[in-house]
Symmetry: C2
Subunit: 213 residues, 2 copies
DNA sequence: ATTAACCTACCTACCAGTTGGTATGTAATT
DNA sequence: AATTACATACCAACTGGTAGGTAGGTTAAT
């Protein structure tokens, strides 16, 4: 296999190029020819690895997702014991990434969801799953924080986690129009403040309940 | 002129069809032929009204924006005197629309921003302006509410208004993937709660400041 | 000998956009 | 009242180029 010697296999190079282009222009606007030229592979080569452009779409989505998962796994917040501090560590990492000019301010899951949901049901389902998995990761932190700091409140951690995903996706869209990443930072800041407010409320309620009960 | 007798001029019919299709599939995936066929006009007819597909893009964006402005103007919240209640009225209307199954859960400004920002600078600028105008509308309500209920707080109403736009855009994306509009309702609910929390905090601070000063 | 990993050359459908019309109305001229 | 002139609102048929995809090969490693 080439993978051992060369940095990346041809297939992975194709996936990388496709990801890069589709992050900027979306699925439909990117042509197979474009991907081939930029990767330095002919069309025959491309169709050796992918059945069709649609097939590429699914593969690219999976590839992108894996890279995102890895990225999150490499974030330093996991080792933080206190769940609320861990949450802030999580948000810090995302804010750092928003500030980093080298990182593309776009999300393939969001792009595909918007562009392909009504025409490619399979991709729509895939996007749904990825969104849910991402939200679930955040939900776990929120659940722990809730249990520790506001166990009696009826805070809906699932909805709150999904809310963050929405904030993030929306901020990406705004940042593209504005060509300014501050919206992303602000979105994270607002979410932070909101969660803080919710936990304060939860604590109060918990105290009240304890007094009552 | 035909406009008086017929419901809509040919140009407006073309704009409508284009809007409808592009809300679902995005700009690139919609072909001029498709728009023509669905409108019942030939290509010659289309290019009589629009210089190019790009030109159509800009026109469609403007047309969509106007329709959205009109929609907001027709909402009942404007007559509410109390600015905080007016804000809730505003949010109520958006939540109602999220619930209404007849309304397409998609925003052309968001779609275009995501799809075309990197390739069509003019459209990107247009999206930016529309987003800003929408945020500004909300900012005005927030400003009034701030002045009345938390005049001393250093609440950033502009950032908060933009945050709502982001929440809304993000929720639309999620709702497409999930095929469930509850995320939109939830997004609005969370924003509501967040603003409430901010105003409570502002009130406390104002009280404190008054005591101190 | 077989298979994976490509490449060259090509096909067909469809894309945005053009050409050169016609039908209709309107406004000024005769 | 008839004629000329011009504009608007379309249509049918076409063009050039590009899209996704295929057929059939070559090369090199297993």
């Amino acid at each position: 296999m080439k993978t051992t010697k060369e940095a990346l296999s041809t297939k992975e190079q194709l996936l990388r190029t496709a990801t890069e282009l589709m992050l900027a222009k979306g699925f439909t606007a990117v042509t197979v020819d474009e991907i081939c030229e930029k990767t330095g592979v002919t069309k025959g080569g491309f169709f050796h690895y992918f059945e069709s452009k649609d097939d590429l779409g699914k593969s690219v989505l999976e590839y992108y997702w894996q890279s995102q998962v890895q990225m999150v796994q490499e974030m330093p917040f996991h080792s933080i014991k206190d769940p609320l501090k861990r949450l802030h560590g999580f948000l810090d990492s995302f804010a750092d990434r928003a500030r980093d000019p080298q990182i593309t301010k776009s999300c393939l899951i969001g792009n595909f969801s918007q562009e392909l949901s009504s025409t490619y049901p399979e991709i729509r389902t895939l996007c749904d799953k990825k969104f849910s998995m991402f939200a679930d990761m955040l939900k776990q932190i929120l659940d722990e924080a809730k249990q520790m700091y506001a166990p009696r409140s009826r805070l809906d951690t699932k909805s709150l986690a999904e809310h963050f995903v929405a904030i993030f996706q929306g901020a990406l869209i705004l940042s593209k129009a504005k060509q300014d990443t501050k919206v992303i930072e602000e979105g994270i800041r607002h979410f932070r403040q909101y969660v803080e407010a919710l936990f304060k409320k939860g604590r109060k309620k918990a105290v009240k309940s304890r007094k009552r009960g």
